[in-house]
Symmetry: D2
Subunit: 337 residues, 4 copies
């Protein structure tokens, strides 16, 4: 890291900082400029607490040179991670589409939607049994009964399952039913929950927090991987900005940025980002062309009766149409659907 000393730093202050760095095990290289002095500190001390250096007299600021994540980045692993979910590979040549309703409401409706998304070409079935809702008065999910319905739909359709867990106390239960455990945007920095899912080998779909930087997102992945679970799939779902024309602003640049910084696969959730089904088609095509490894899309056979997020759900017929339009886009960028 680089320590920038303020313009008025005294010789003694500079020496004190050098001494403190040496005590921590760094080798130091002071560079005396015309106006300011900076001190290069050599050594990989990501596990050390070095931030007190910034409080020492005469220090203006500290510039980290190393990325704070190790396992989620490309330093130790250059090749892309391919997360295997049964026979489905996420992060390979094939673009993988996950689809289904926001919340599970009953077996019949769920099976109907499941059959239709399968026919259209989805490989993974989504559905919420534990729902984090902004209002305490909104439908909170069917909990284990919902998981049972999901399992039944897997039985019938052969689709793999992805569902969210929102409480450390439920991880074991959810893991026993699902094929992919989802960590929602609101829990991206629920570090206890991250550690808990890190203790399983089940793939984890890690949604980006609505105001998380890409670095914080990769640090959240680092929590999971450092507990022993390397099967992390990143999911961009829109970030919070001042623009209100869409519910959130989808950060399409996150795709090439993640591809540069990390070996983990990244998929997009256009439904939550847009907040309305109307933009899902355009954004899905854009995501694939930009390089996403997959999509997760809300589909509901009767959005007007959905207990959650109806406005952003596609009708099965519109989803089928989307899948048809996606195929040539995937092909245009050298991938299959």
């Amino acid at each position: 890291m680089i320590i920038v000393m303020s313009q008025n730093a005294t010789k003694e202050q500079i020496e004190n900082v050098e001494k403190a760095l040496t005590d921590l095990g760094f080798k130091t290289h002071p560079i005396v400029g015309d106006v300011k002095t900076v001190i290069g500190a050599i050594g990989d001390k990501r596990h050390l607490n070095t931030n007190y250096i910034s409080t020492m007299p005469g220090v203006e600021n500290i510039v980290p040179i190393m990325k704070p994540y190790k396992l989620a980045g490309k330093e130790l692993q250059k090749n892309p991670t391919i997360v295997q979910v049964g026979d489905v590979k996420i992060g390979g040549t094939e673009v993988v589409v996950m689809a289904g309703p926001c919340a599970i409401e009953n077996l019949e409706t769920y099976l109907e939607t499941a059959e239709k998304v399968k026919q259209a070409g989805a490989k993974i079935l989504r559905g919420g049994a534990f729902k984090p809702r902004t209002s305490p008065y909104a439908f909170q999910g069917l909990e284990e009964d919902g998981l049972k319905i999901m399992a039944a739909a897997r039985e019938t359709t052969g689709l793999k399952l992805v569902t969210e867990v929102v409480d450390t106390r439920d991880v074991e239960l959810v893991a026993s039913y699902t094929d992919i455990i989802q960590i929602g945007a609101r829990n991206m920095q629920n570090f206890r929950l991250l550690k808990e899912v890190g203790m399983y080998q089940k793939p984890v779909l890690l949604k980006r927090g609505v105001a998380a930087t890409i670095e914080e997102w990769l640090m959240a992945a680092e929590y999971i991987i450092s507990e022993g679970n390397p099967n992390v799939i990143l999911c961009e779902r829109g970030i919070r900005t001042y623009e209100t024309a869409t519910r959130n602003t989808i950060d399409m640049s996150a795709i090439p940025v993640i591809k540069e910084l990390s070996h983990l696969p990244i998929i997009l959730d256009p439904s939550h980002a847009a907040g309305t089904w109307k933009y899902v088609n355009a954004l899905s095509k854009g995501a694939i062309a930009t390089g996403a490894d997959g999509l997760i899309i809300e589909v509901h056979s009767s959005p007007d009766a959905a207990l959650c997020d109806g406005p952003q759900s596609l009708l099965p017929s519109k989803f089928e149409q989307l899948m048809k339009e996606l195929a040539p886009v995937a092909e245009a960028v050298g991938r299959t659907l």
Copy 2:
């Protein structure tokens, strides 16, 4: 609520929407404008799922008229809530200052800081036993040992305690030690945790999420209150914006906005907002003059040895100076310190 029909909505579409509203129990009042029709829907249906209306053909958008929160707002309670923590009243005439280190490191240092913040006039002692940290490699807190140190400091100084809980599994334990349970910014929408602390009568310090709207913040309070715990203290701690000169941007306007919308007390955390001790003095004075009911400030007897957030901690001497400067500001706005 008001349903705005699109310019091209047909007569039949308008009738369908009216029928759907009637079926939900609303009384409807269509207003036929020169360009568009809007439908007024009368009835308090905050507990109903009405968002599917927005997916009906011809609907442009829905404008809610009622606030989504009830218990946290002023509809049912006009008078300010005063949260009683032993003999300390939060939300009354007195401005209450909470102070102490970010994390508890050991008994000796903690007691030293505790004594000093008491002498300077703090009424409540802060300290972290369970720390949510961005990096899995950073110090995560002493857990129950930390709580025991806090209890010892309460014994010695008579100060009340505030500390954070980060896992539903720890709520009972934390509640058994602390006087105020803190919900951190990253957990503001950890709804399970909110429900759990709502089952106790212990006061809850609810920090605003770093990208939460004021409405979402009040909805988080609603979660706690609706479980039966009315003792919620709101805490503004800076929001995420594009500006990088401070770690977060303190939203000072949140003080008068909360005073207008809610009966709950609101305090400020200038230390986390600024991310550096250098701005804590100015922002603390500003917060009191703007109308805050209190402050929570990081103080550490040796910030350079702090295992967490050293850069933003005040030395006890600077905290003492701040308390002296705050007194006349409090007085200038008709309050005591």
Copy 3:
């Protein structure tokens, strides 16, 4: 518009608001709810100053129903506008690519780049003669000499020209040289400049301000169109968010949103959004698949000698490669390149 009265509004206050509305020429429809009263005000009064209504006693807030723009929206024109620049059509089936360096430095380099972008398939040549720079010490452009170089390059290559104007005093001059007048992001709300370019019939490339809402952007277009110039091309170039991994966050959703709200064509500027050439390829493909009508891309034959924005400029060879990769993407969404 809808006037929402506060819960405590008196009967007299409601009547006063109704009277004020009637005086302004509105027809009023009060709706008395269980908790609040709302008043529907019928009539298109976009040209009237009605905001004082919101200051009247008892008024909680005002909800506009009509869009504030008329000419830029779809109310009066449903079909897409196709902006004709000589024989190039922007907004039709063909995706139009504009390319060239940020600033014009000298004839030789500029011609070299111009020839190469032409060979690769660009239809319009960009280049800056008047540069808005954050620092007063940075290169500010060659001014009229730069325009002359551009004209020479048009002569040689047959490409059409787009260049920025930054001062009302230069509009006539710039218009006399260029084929498309660019309004940069920093001047999107320089209303005098908007009016000035509205007085010509030259096509205007209107970049979105770095923190402008889509509504404000369309209002800026309204300024130009209302002066008599309907030839507006919108250009999304990234918005300011908290994320620092890219210079700005490209708002890809703006494409389907604009297609829904407006008849104007929209193109994307991935170079300025990303701030680095590394992400330009991915974002360009994404933009076309999402539905953009074109792209504007920085290309420089020797980015390392560029006086402006070198880091985000593509080498001609990389631009050629990009154009080859864009063609199948355009085709996949039913367009040509």
Copy 4:
């Protein structure tokens, strides 16, 4: 500056960067770390174009060490600038209040408001003759007739004047009438306009752009000062964030940040930040306690008839009350009003 080489940079790439830096006149100091090499480049080259270095093969990024501004920062001037407007001093011990309506509508109303703000203790009279309005259909100001009315009010009351200029072509005219020239938020990066007002010695009130960083704001001041006009007063007026409870989010931290980085005085505009008069009182007191050198407040004798920004204007009686409440706050922080 510091050049960070990527982990895979070759020896040759590192040497090439060193050579390029030497050619530009820097002295270089490479620091070879365990993982990466960084190169310190010594020399103050703020006037040089160095950004192409970042495009050289093997370069990961560049970390500037020097601030990009010189004249607006504290490097060359440590003592606070006190801007003298006749006998009014801005930036000294006295807190200076500027007040008046958003737009000038007619002589009678304007004089009435002017007299009242004077009686309440304002020292400077605000008023808009050239108004930048989001909508082309909104009142755009009385232009020179407005300036004449302002001059008449100065004659009568003895108050100094502040008014905005929005076009380079009007600077001479506006400067001939007013005592302080205002650059509005939308024109903070209208560099031509900044240069133009830099050619006069009239004090300039430079509002922060709604999405400008503090660094960009100081660079805008640098434009003015570098043309020869050192009399710059900074004005914080709220920044654009995701929060919609207020029109903009007032960045109160900007006060201590500016006091640390610059010698220029800073005032606050709570009226535009909040967008409603209801929060102006609280925010004004907060601003003074935080350390602002002054305030600019909208006051209108009949807000309900205002042609602009009525909702955020205080009635003269409320302004008088505010001034009374501000006095003890100013005193509490060692200042006078």
